[in-house]
Subunit: 331 residues, 2 copies
């Protein structure tokens, strides 16, 4: 029986606030380049006062992935928590306008915390340094998980970032149980190496016990298995999960599945803003495997989708991704 959704994603519901700055700005404000740092509301207000003119675009890692799948015409839904405020309305609008379902109850307007946002400083090299005020997205709990929805999806896509917080652990567990109970499969992205540091044991348990597909990049994989030996880490992970997809920026993506290892190279792209590269890789890959394409072809699709999103400001696709796939003979 065809399920209603091909992919349901769960993660931090975030609006991105993008501004440009020189590398010196990062040093002056104690921002570590290229990674995601969690900040509180106080620091968010202070930092916003220091950043240049900004552009606001809906973001959130898994939300970007789900938006990408919807943009490709895939049947997708998203779960993540915003407040009933202006940024929350923007976040909800952008997902639905892209064609994804989104029905997580909003926190009421009077509540103290606001919709989460991520101040992203883009340096001249296109690298992005993220400063995230989680706001309401932190309070995702089992009550926000609709078991019927989880049972009605081929794939669940979990964002490693949302592992910060005990209620969300429980929310993930509830979602996994409902999805697997109905024959659905489960995927996870490790999100970033510091996120792996914070949750290594829990992630490892999930990889071994619950996962069908693990997304990661090189740095996350090395952190996960606490080694400098990339090949060894790939082999270890491949023994623990059915399908492993590990990206290496411009060096492409490795796919390990069924005892085989393959590599999908990337095309050269001028990086304007690296935000969303991993998210859109996952979108292309998940769209591919849920539309009958073999893993290596799906990884090529992931590379093309990632290449599109880093060629402009913001982490949601602007070009017609299907047209890009067609132009490369992928569909």
């Amino acid at each position: 029986m065809t399920k209603r959704y091909q992919v349901v994603g769960i993660g931090n519901a975030i609006v991105d606030v993008l501004s440009h700055a020189e590398d010196g700005f990062l040093a002056d404000h104690g921002i570590e380049k290229g990674i995601m740092q969690l900040i509180d509301r106080h620091r968010a207000v202070h930092l916003y006062g220091q950043t240049g003119p900004s552009v606001e675009v809906s973001g959130g890692s898994a939300a970007n992935t789900i938006a990408g799948i919807a943009a490709l015409g895939g049947r997708s839904a998203y779960v993540g928590k915003v407040k009933d405020d202006q940024l929350g309305a923007i976040f909800a609008h952008d997902l639905r306008a892209q064609g994804a379902d989104y029905a997580t109850p909003m926190a009421p307007a009077g509540a103290e915390e606001e919709t989460g946002r991520c101040m992203i400083i883009v340096t001249p090299d296109g690298e992005r340094s993220m400063n995230t005020y989680l706001g309401w997205s932190e309070y995702l709990s089992p009550a926000d998980i609709d078991e019927a929805q989880m049972a009605d999806t081929d794939w669940l896509f979990l964002e490693g970032y949302r592992f910060d917080g005990p209620d969300s652990h429980a929310a993930f567990a509830r979602a996994i149980r409902a999805a697997r109970g109905a024959g659905g499969r489960v995927s996870l992205t490790l999100s970033d190496p510091f996120c792996v540091e914070r949750h290594r044991d829990a992630f490892r348990r999930m990889i071994v016990e619950d996962l069908d597909l693990l997304f990661c990049n090189r740095a996350e994989l090395l952190s996960m298995y606490q080694t400098d030996d990339f090949d060894a880490a790939l082999e270890t992970a491949a023994r623990e999960v059915d399908m492993l997809v590990c990206t290496e920026s411009e060096h492409g993506a490795h796919v390990l599945h069924g005892g085989a290892r393959a590599h999908a190279p990337t095309e050269p792209v001028k990086v304007v803003d690296a935000t969303g590269a991993g998210d859109l890789f996952a979108a292309g890959y998940l769209w591919g495997i849920t539309h009958g394409h073999p893993p290596l072809a799906a990884a090529r699709m992931g590379n093309v989708a990632a290449g599109e999103v880093i060629s402009h400001l913001g982490a949601r696709p602007e070009a017609d991704l299907r047209a890009l796939f067609r132009a490369r003979g992928l569909i």
Copy 2:
């Protein structure tokens, strides 16, 4: 004595909500292409539900001009009304982060209307069709005008759009009186042909009695003087105002001043989003004349600034405008 400001602008304080659509979308939703239509809150909510994924960027015609002058290093300030909500905070941040002063009191958080916003539909040809919910920007009143600030600027820059509403008429009058009383000069942009339709007599009176500099484009000028004869309209207007600058899109700008008429041609630009072309033309022009450049050179600067802003999404400059001026030998 050097005044604190070179230009103080007054207008509708607006956040732009930009999305892409085919021309058919405009027809389906009764949106007239290429112009600005005022919509109420009800229509704004309805239309937002129909538009695609969006990007939010601070806008507002005179605010774009003031941001452009600040980006060029000019001493500028802005007056326009927002609410103390998330979009209002974004609007204020982006002006101040660009280096412009902005101190208009925000409407309190509990108030019913919200910060104004403009849903801008960008069609594949780069043309923009604007649907503006004015929100609190409509309530600009004489109480929002700081006479000391008006007395401390070389130029006042008034946005024709803000002529919608009796309180704002009075606010403009108060600002003009204070500026002129201290030897300041006054400029106005006609904003759009339908705005001219609504306020032709009041604009005419202002041109004759109060203005030193009039900004308009071809369609606005023809509407102002109710004629199809462009040259005749230019000559008539030039007799009524000391300095007349009339833009003609890719055909460049005409400058009429001191009995002479000159023309500044444009360079070819790929139009991504026409939003802000006139606003940034005014920024380049005002920066030029307040920095000792003759009117024709200032018009060339206006063309370059306009060319920059239409080459990307959003109505605030992204590139270094001074570097663009330098590359063309303008400074």
